[in-house]
């Protein structure tokens, strides 16, 4: 079962869901050109979405040399990953230079949020249980979704594997063990059980243990220092329990419980004379979420969603001794969320929808188990309502929506941020200019903002409760073209290209207060972003049983700081950490029981601070990864073994200055279904 609502998407757009790489493994041997052509020729939602969509799913996703969702997202265009290195290092993404806080992450249809700092660590999401990753610029091109789905600059949808049973069976599963560099040991278990004709259950559990030690190297051509990264160890456990129901009356429901617990070292910036720290972090994320989906007749559909989450984070800094001992900050965050989305089909070409979400967040903090100095325990009530319309003709699809956001904060003492009300629109279109469905033109306009986070507003010394939301405007126009060729060698190819222009105003930036440790948040930044993204996928058949899938992505982006014309060092200069050119290449080849996967990522030269001077220059980053997989059947079990070589050329890089990434490393995976 897909996420509630996804299935109900207008059927012409939804007939696909098949990706060129998706195939049942037992048919690998018997592929014929014709079958490939049929499979590849089905139109992918990549090609019909009015907003640019990039996806990795199924077998294609499985074959990537990736441990976490963050590793996989690197292959998308327009994305910058901030990676602090190693297995436990923080990994966040920034899409089209809007900033990490403008990316919403949805797990099985419901947002995985963070009211404290607004950023989700994608390194926490193991790929073990993920079937599909979608990245939409602006929003999912579908009016029937919770209001949250309309409320961010871009959205990542992570979809967990759904239980699937062969006729006559009621249980199946998979065990897997990954091991490799940095002392990684990562066993996992997936167990699906059919509780009844219409109720399925799924259990997914995983342990991740790593010592986090890896070699890194810094040189300026004269000094040449290699060291071993310390304090990057991690021990994490994840358990997920899912229940899925499908009733006779077309109603569907799903309940998911999630527990993630980790204890890890926090490696510090490797600076002169000091490469390591002793800081530790503990996390515990618990949530329960549920979706309910029903189509009452052919015209009216309802989707209900709810979630409760409880997050705990603790930081220990043994290098700071207070009068109450070594500094130990603890944060407790609670979230409650409800959503109701309604869609009504007025006629065969016109749908409208109304959705309303309510969210409640609360953050508490302690320092060494006492009240944290001047911490105000903020609570936030957010109401999101959206009205949307979708006109879909044979050659033309137009979607429009207006989102109302109503926010109120309460704090214990001091001044709470004022009430905020905002109305923001989006307009999306997709047009097939000729009778040939292979070519489509698309585009969108969206205005949206991100709210100041609790840290921005209330963090002791740094917070500024006078902050306003940070607004973005996005304009995009592009085309998608896909072609199935009934010929040998090149079987299928697809291209998506988009040009975009974004503006960020009232950007929330930290500016100096009294001294280096006291920054204050202000609405000061202004950024203009012009970009071009091209993505291509192709399937090749180079011999009867040899298939090659290739994917390529390229981004050209000028993101310039236009805040202050009196600062010539930074005015109109590319913003920090943003390359002008970046791209990736994916090549997957299959031959009988063997498959080979190669990937390459390139991030062009960039500067780590605003001024484009030699001291701030960061060399281009690139990495080659390769993997070999052998799949075989043994007594109804599908056995699989994979060897991955990451950073094949052993190139030492930082993505975030002074947070070194590992050199060449290996990973081995064995798995078996049952």
């Amino acid at each position: 079962m897909m996420i509630a609502g996804f299935n109900l998407f207008s059927s012409t757009l939804f007939a696909q869901k098949a990706d060129s790489s998706k195939r049942d493994n037992d048919t690998v041997k018997t592929h014929t050109l014709k079958e490939v052509a049929v499979r590849a020729g089905r139109i992918s939602s990549r090609n019909t979405s009015a907003t640019p969509l990039q996806m990795l799913k199924g077998a294609e996703l499985e074959k990537l040399n990736s441990l976490s969702v963050a590793d996989a997202i690197r292959f998308f265009s327009g994305v910058q990953l901030k990676d602090y290195g190693g297995i436990g290092g923080l990994k966040t993404i920034n899409v089209r230079s809007l900033g990490a806080n403008h990316v919403a992450v949805f797990y099985d249809g419901i947002e995985f949020g963070n009211a404290q700092n607004g950023q989700v660590d994608l390194g926490k999401f193991s790929l073990d249980n993920i079937d599909e990753i979608d990245l939409y610029n602006a929003q999912k091109s579908n009016i029937f979704q919770p209001a949250k789905g309309f409320a961010s600059g871009s959205a990542i949808y992570l979809m967990a594997k759904q239980p699937h049973f062969e006729p006559g069976t009621n249980a199946n599963g998979k065990v897997s063990l990954k091991a490799g560099g940095m002392g990684l040991v990562n066993p996992s278990l997936l167990l699906n059980y059919k509780l009844g004709d219409s109720i399925y259950s799924s259990l997914s559990a995983e342990l991740t243990h790593a010592n986090g030690k890896y070699k890194f190297r810094y040189t300026n051509g004269v000094y040449d220092t290699t060291a071993i990264r310390q304090n990057g160890d991690i021990s994490a456990q994840r358990v997920e329990l899912g229940l899925f129901g499908k009733m006779q009356d077309s109603c569907k429901w799903a309940v998911k419980g999630y527990l993630y617990n980790s204890e890890r070292g926090l490696p510090r910036a490797a600076v002169s004379n000091r490469f390591e720290s002793d800081q530790r972090q503990r996390d515990r994320n618990i949530f329960v979420q549920s979706t309910y989906n029903k189509t009452f007749d052919t015209r009216y559909s309802l989707m209900l969603s709810a979630k409760y989450s409880n997050d705990y984070t603790s930081y220990l800094d043994p290098e700071t001794t207070t009068t109450r001992g070594l500094l130990n900050d603890k944060y407790y965050e609670h979230e409650l969320y409800f959503s109701a989305a309604n869609k009504y089909s007025i006629n065969s070409f016109w749908d409208i929808s109304l959705a309303a979400d309510y969210q409640w967040n609360k953050l508490n903090a302690t320092e060494n188990d006492s009240a944290k100095y001047r911490f105000v325990s903020p609570r936030r009530h957010t109401i999101l309502t959206v009205a949307a319309t979708d006109l879909h003709f044979k050659h033309f699809n137009l979607q429009a929506n207006i989102l109302g956001t109503f926010v109120k904060d309460n704090v214990d003492t001091l001044v709470a941020a004022g009430k905020k009300t905002a109305y923001t629109p989006a307009l999306l279109f997709s047009w097939q200019p000729t009778d040939n469905p292979d070519l489509r033109i698309r585009g969108f306009y969206k205005s949206i903002f991100r709210l100041p986070t609790f840290n921005d507003l209330y963090y002791t010394f740094i917070g500024n409760s006078l902050l306003r939301p940070e607004y973005t405007k996005q304009f995009d126009v592009g085309f998608t073209y896909n072609k199935t060729l009934h010929q040998h060698t090149l079987v299928y190819f697809a291209v998506q290209a988009d040009a975009y222009y974004n503006q960020v105003r009232d950007k929330i930036v930290a500016i100096p207060g009294q001294d280096l440790e006291r920054w204050i948040m202000f609405n000061l930044g202004k950024v203009h972003i012009k970009g071009l993204e091209i993505n291509g996928q192709a399937t090749w058949q180079v011999a009867t049983s040899v298939f090659i899938n290739t994917g390529i992505s390229y981004t050209h982006q000028k993101a310039v700081d236009v805040t202050d014309p009196t600062e010539p060092d930074v005015y109109n200069q590319q913003i920090p950490y943003t390359p002008v050119n970046s791209g990736s290449v994916l090549i997957g080849a299959e031959w009988k029981k063997l498959s080979f996967n190669y990937s390459y990522i390139y991030i062009g030269e960039r500067y780590d601070l605003g001024a484009h001077i030699p001291a701030n220059y960061v060399k281009p980053f690139y990495t080659h990864d390769a993997g070999f997989t052998y799949t075989t059947n043994y007594n109804k079990h599908k056995l699989k073994g994979t060897i991955e070589i990451n950073n094949v050329l052993n190139q030492y890089n930082d993505v975030v200055t002074n947070f070194p990434l590992p050199g060449r490393n290996y990973r081995f995976t064995i798995s078996s279904t049952f």
Binding site: Y218, T219, N220, G221, V222, Y223, T225, A269, A270, V271, S272, N273, R274, D278, P318, E319, T321, T322, T323, G325, L326, L327, Y373, R374, F461, N464, I511, P512, G513, Q514, L516, E517, R518, I520, W540, A543, V546, T550, E567, D569, V570, P576, G583, V585, Y598, Y600, Y602, E605, L609, G610, A611, I613, P614, A615, K619, P620, Y622, H624, T657, N658
Partner: protein, 378 residues
């Protein structure tokens, strides 16, 4: 199969072409700007500027203004010491010249770099965790550090380390208050400002007095919370700043008489940084008000002989309106030119201004990130 291999090779070679356009690794170059007329006979040869650099960026840097050539040499450390792994380090917090050596205190890098004052070449390195400021007396350098012992939950106090300037070894260490900042020496006594910044609102409110002969703490003088800057004048007085609590308790300036070791005067205005030259203290205050959400800046001159605020200003031509975040201040002891730095938004290279004794801008130059601390070379 040949066909596949051929295709793969083609694709891979495409990637390698992209990969080949990386520049070779080289030490960060020095940049020289001619900023003023050369004065080959200048009594003060020039001055070093220590740029703090942002925390975790490892971008502390050293510049040298050469009066004899009129040239400002930006980022000299990396060219002179290219063999030092990752260079000068993270957050340069203080610099001083004593005898023929420069002492650079690099806070987050936990080190004091000792350089040849004439060439800038590194002589030695002393590791001191969380070191803050340096001062000198009688063949010894004294370095304050936020914690005397790191990692002991029962040891929140800071320390002052004594370094023998001949052997460049730590000889003695004395525990003082929590998170000590700047120091000054009057007679045979060292005064250090304790901040207590790790435990707000439980700040320290004292100046520790150290007897240099026995290297023990004689007493603590009660002043005000969260002390920071501390400078001595030539009349036996100590000027010490209190940062307040940033919310309700305002920052202030205090004068301690070292004959009585008591506060003898309080000024009801804040001072972020000061430099005392002869009879005049040159000061500025840069302060954020959490209630109005605004920063304010004041420039002040004070006569230290009779402890009175002067009517004159050291910037008189309106240049102060261009200075976003004043950060460093120094006065040329011979020409009385006033040097002021602007740290701007901390993330872009700052600017160094030189003002005539009459307060007119003579020249300005782009420095490193957060230009902050000065040392004059003779």
């Amino acid at each position: 199969m040949k066909n596949i291999i051929y295709k793969i090779i083609c694709l891979l070679s495409g990637c390698f072409i992209l990969a080949s356009c990386r520049k070779a690794d080289v030490p960060i170059p020095t940049k020289t700007n001619h900023v003023t007329t050369a004065d080959p006979t200048s009594k003060v040869k020039g001055f070093y500027v220590l740029n703090e650099g942002n925390m975790n960026m490892n971008r502390a840097s050293l510049d040298f203004m050469d009066y004899t050539t009129g040239n400002y040499n930006l980022n000299i450390y990396n060219q002179i010491n290219p063999d030092v792994t990752k260079g000068l380090g993270d957050v340069g917090n203080d610099i001083g010249i004593y005898g023929s050596k420069i002492y650079v205190v690099v806070n987050v890098s936990n080190k004091v770099e000792i350089l040849n004052a004439r060439t800038g070449k590194r002589i030695s390195l002393i590791t001191i965790a969380n070191c803050r400021y340096v001062t000198f007396h009688n063949g010894k350098a004294y370095v304050s550090a936020y914690l005397g012992t790191v990692g002991d939950p029962k040891a929140p106090n800071g320390a002052v380390n004594e370094i023998d300037t001949a052997t460049l070894q730590i000889t003695r260490k004395v525990t003082v208050g929590r998170q000590p900042e700047e120091m000054a020496i009057v007679g045979e006594k060292l005064y250090v400002a304790n901040s207590g910044g790790y435990s707000p609102p439980n700040y320290e409110r004292t100046v520790s007095v150290i007897d240099l002969a026995s290297f023990t703490e004689l007493k603590r003088i009660d002043v005000a919370i969260n002390l920071d800057r501390l400078k001595a004048d030539k009349y036996g007085d100590i000027y010490v700043t209190s940062r307040g609590d940033y919310y309700n308790i305002p920052s202030k300036l205090f004068v301690i008489d070292t004959k009585t070791d008591q506060v003898k005067k309080t000024f009801d205005f804040g001072v972020s940084n000061l430099w005392i030259d002869d009879d005049i203290a040159y000061m500025y205050n840069f302060e954020f008000n959490y209630n109005t959400g605004k920063n304010t800046t004041n420039y002040i001159m004070l006569n230290v002989k009779d402890e009175t605020v002067m009517n004159s200003k050291f910037i008189t031509d309106g240049t102060d309106a261009q200075i976003k975040v004043p950060y460093g201040i120094a006065v040329n002891p011979v020409t009385k030119e006033v040097l002021v730095t602007d740290a701007k938004n901390y993330l872009t290279p700052g600017t160094l201004y030189s003002f005539s004794p009459g307060g007119k801008k003579e020249w300005s130059v782009t420095a490193g990130d957060i230009p902050a601390h000065f040392a004059f070379a003779y």
